[in-house]
């Protein structure tokens, strides 16, 4: 359980800083930033887009239908594939305990939950893939990558127009026992009827995690990875139940990931544009 220690430290630091309130914004009416407690929010996005697949030989992942479901109770929340429990929230700080999927798995299987409604081109399983080196060719069995969930504390802070997020996560499904630290800041560039939000972030993946997804036993045993990313998200409500959403996301892959014989690119791009229909 040693990897939990940094997570708990992060949470403690966050709690200590929670009294240092800065410029505050308050949730006064339902908006993309504020949700009603105790109400389900179910919607579906229909559009066009895709996520490039850095895994050699695997198809890019088309994004056509993106379902979204969320429920925020007084403390418990479910937001698509993530769920959690809020320990403390005020206008400046939120401290949660969260459970979140490992996002690397989407590149390996078309039946991943995250691809459930995103029709894959099939043939994403790498088991038995031939790994080609420069001067020899070896058949290397690549074991299945399973669904993993990570759990840990999360600190969200709001400072003026900036929203920061820091997650210290430990893999809790017993596959690789690695950990991941996710850090991001977001700020609105346009905040009127149209909303344009820019996010910048970093994802630290421990060596265990990187090896599980991108390593090959005896051939490639990478260390930890630090992947920066940039995301731009645009939304515009058209009516009470219909809106337009679009986003562009690019993640730069650390050398320890991109140097893997399984990986053929140094980044992952995701784009989507479509209509959002509120069902509930």
């Amino acid at each position: 359980m040693r990897p939990l220690l940094p997570s708990l430290l992060l949470l403690s630091i966050g709690m200590l800083l929670s009294e240092a309130a800065a410029a505050q914004t308050r949730c006064k009416s339902p908006s993309p930033e504020c949700v009603a407690v105790g109400e389900w929010d179910i919607s579906v996005s229909l559009g066009a887009g895709g996520r490039t697949n850095p895994i050699r030989g695997n198809s890019d992942i088309p994004l056509i239908v993106i379902p979204q479901i969320s429920y925020y109770g007084e403390r418990f929340f479910l937001d698509s594939l993530e769920l959690g429990f809020t320990l403390h929230e005020n206008d400046t700080h939120t401290f949660n305990l969260v459970a979140t999927p490992g996002y690397d798995r989407v590149f390996f299987f078309s039946n991943d939950l995250q691809n459930l409604f995103v029709r894959g081109a099939g043939g994403l399983v790498l088991t038995g893939e031939l790994i080609e080196g420069s001067d020899d060719v070896r058949a290397v069995p690549v074991p299945r990558r399973h669904t993993t969930y990570l759990v840990g504390p999360e600190w969200i802070f709001r400072y003026g127009r900036l929203i920061g997020q820091l997650d210290g996560l430990y893999e809790a499904t017993g596959r690789h026992h690695g950990h991941e630290v996710r850090a991001a800041v977001a700020t609105p560039i346009i905040a009127s009827k149209d909303s344009l939000v820019m996010s910048l972030g970093l994802t630290f993946k421990s060596a265990e995690l990187v090896r599980y997804y991108y390593g090959i036993e005896g051939l490639y045993e990478p260390g930890s990875a630090l992947n920066p990313f940039l995301k731009l998200g645009y939304s515009r409500p058209v009516s009470e139940r219909v809106g337009f959403n679009a986003f562009v996301h690019y993640e730069f892959l650390d050398d320890s990931v991109s140097d893997s014989p399984l990986v053929s690119s140094s980044g992952v791009a995701t784009v989507f544009a479509g209509w959002v229909f509120k069902i509930l």
């Binding site: 339902p30 504020c34 009603a36 809020t86 939120t94 996010s199």
Partner: protein, 114 residues
């Protein structure tokens, strides 16, 4: 508790409370008023803020009146003398608004789900 005047006119109004959810602006319900007195009375039933509602009885010891109403504030039902000067009994239907509680939505920049 029904209001009992010194003359012992007892007035009951149903419902006692109308609860509005966050999405509701108005209560729309049938309001039923029932009164009784130990002796015959001549009186009129009025509802404050609803001038079109007036129902009178002459020399009755009890009476019932139902009406469908739309209202957004507390509703005050009154029994007055036939000249509408004195209030003989009154009872309210309380409007309770369910407060909409809001909290911050998490951002998930790592997810394709926005």
């Amino acid at each position: 508790m029904p209001v009992v005047t010194p003359e012992s006119i007892e007035l009951k109004v149903r419902p006692r409370v109308c609860t509005l959810s966050a999405d509701d602006e108005f209560c729309q319900t049938v309001v039923r008023a029932q009164w009784r007195s130990p002796r015959d009375e001549s009186l009129c039933l009025l509802i404050v803020g609803q001038p079109h509602i007036k129902h009178c009885w002459e020399r009755h010891s009890k009476g019932t009146y139902s009406v469908e109403l739309t209202f957004s504030e507390d509703l005050l039902v009154e029994l007055r003398d036939p000249e509408l000067r004195d209030v003989l009994a009154s009872e309210a239907v309380k409007v309770i608004r369910e407060a909409l509680r809001l909290r911050y939505r998490r951002r998930q920049p790592w997810s394709i789900f926005y």
